[in-house]
């Protein structure tokens, strides 16, 4: 089980920035809110990493815009949303991901068929 989680963590590590940009594209979100959105889609663990260093990098690279606003009954939160540069990076990243995924599928699909048959 640990090996499976480690592999999932490694898969996620390369695209977590895209996933973050994607979930904040749905609407501005603070850190934990993004974690919940990811979890709702089955990405329940961030494994060895964390979204917070990544959010810092996205902010440093100008891929996100931030603002502080009150949350529901809680303290003011730091909300993130993709900047224009971030949306462009997201679009480019999604294309790269799909190309990589298709290439991997082309290799793995026959294996899956053999196992199934």
């Amino acid at each position: 089980m640990a090996a499976v989680e480690r592999r999932r963590s490694q898969f996620l590590r390369g695209v977590l920035d895209l996933c973050l940009l994607a979930v904040m594209e749905e609407g501005p979100a603070y850190g934990y809110e993004m974690t919940k959105r990811l979890r709702a889609r089955g990405l329940s663990t961030v494994g060895e990493g964390s979204i917070y260093p990544l959010l810092g990098r996205l902010e440093r690279e100008g891929l996100v815009e931030t603002h502080r606003a009150a949350s529901d009954g809680g303290p003011p939160r730091k909300y993130y949303r993709p900047s224009r540069k971030g949306r462009l990076a997201l679009a480019a990243g999604v294309s790269e991901w799909r190309a990589a995924r298709d290439a991997v599928d082309a290799v793995l699909d026959p294996v899956e068929a053999e196992v199934a048959s």
Binding site: S9, Y30, G31, Y32, T35, S44, T45, V46, G47, E48, G49, S50, Y52, P53, L54, G56, R57, E59, R60, S71, G74, P75, R77, K78
Partner: protein, 205 residues
């Protein structure tokens, strides 16, 4: 404040992260962890394995944010420590230099020269700082000249009957100054090295 966040704050402070940035990151993190805890979500689910190593987590956040040098960390702030060690070495070098000056400075006691006067008056030394008469023997003259040059001697004038011998004190004009400078450098070096070593021990303790 959450213990994990406290640890992060200490690490950010140690790494020299500007206060406004550190405050912002701490507030964000604390609010998220509180909300997660209220929902029964563990900090590990929010922070990943970083939940077990707040220093590494804090370092990663600050490095990705670009508020410290990315090679500083490994969680222990190496560049800052290296600078500290380099500064300690510089102070130690200053102390050693000072000690060398104190030990190596010419004696405060004047050089005593034996002068035998077999002939007419003569002046010894290119600057005329040692004048002797009557002149000693040629061999004695060479010894006196060398001793006077080494000792930066000055101002000796003795009328001597032929064949008489006198002991002449040739004072130094720079030994005391060099020694004082040596003591100052020694004190500054020892004080600086001690203070920085203490600072380093406290920071790492």
């Amino acid at each position: 404040m959450n213990e994990f966040v406290e640890e992060c704050r200490r690490e950010w402070e140690r790494l020299g992260v500007p206060d406004p940035v550190a405050n912002e990151m701490a507030v964000e993190l604390e609010a998220d962890l509180e909300e997660a805890e209220a929902e029964g979500v563990s900090s590990e689910e929010v922070l990943g394995s970083g939940a077990f190593d707040p220093r590494a987590f804090a370092t990663a956040c600050a490095a990705e944010r670009g508020v410290i040098q990315s090679n500083a960390p490994d969680g222990h702030g190496l560049p800052r420590r290296s600078r500290l060690v380099a500064a300690i070495c510089v102070f130690a070098l200053v102390a050693v230099s000072g000690g060398a000056l104190v030990v190596g400075a010419p004696s405060a006691e004047p050089t005593r020269l034996a002068i035998t006067a077999p002939g007419p008056p003569m002046v010894v030394g290119p600057t005329g700082r040692v004048a002797l008469w009557p002149a000693p023997s040629p061999v004695e003259m060479v010894r006196i000249a060398e001793a006077a040059r080494d000792a930066a001697a000055y101002g000796v004038a003795l009328p001597l009957p032929a064949g008489d011998t006198r002991i002449v004190a040739v004072p130094h004009d720079s030994g005391e100054d060099v020694r004082v400078l040596g003591w100052v450098l020694l004190a500054v070096g020892i004080a600086g090295a001690t203070a920085l070593t203490t600072l380093r021990l406290v920071a790492e303790g």
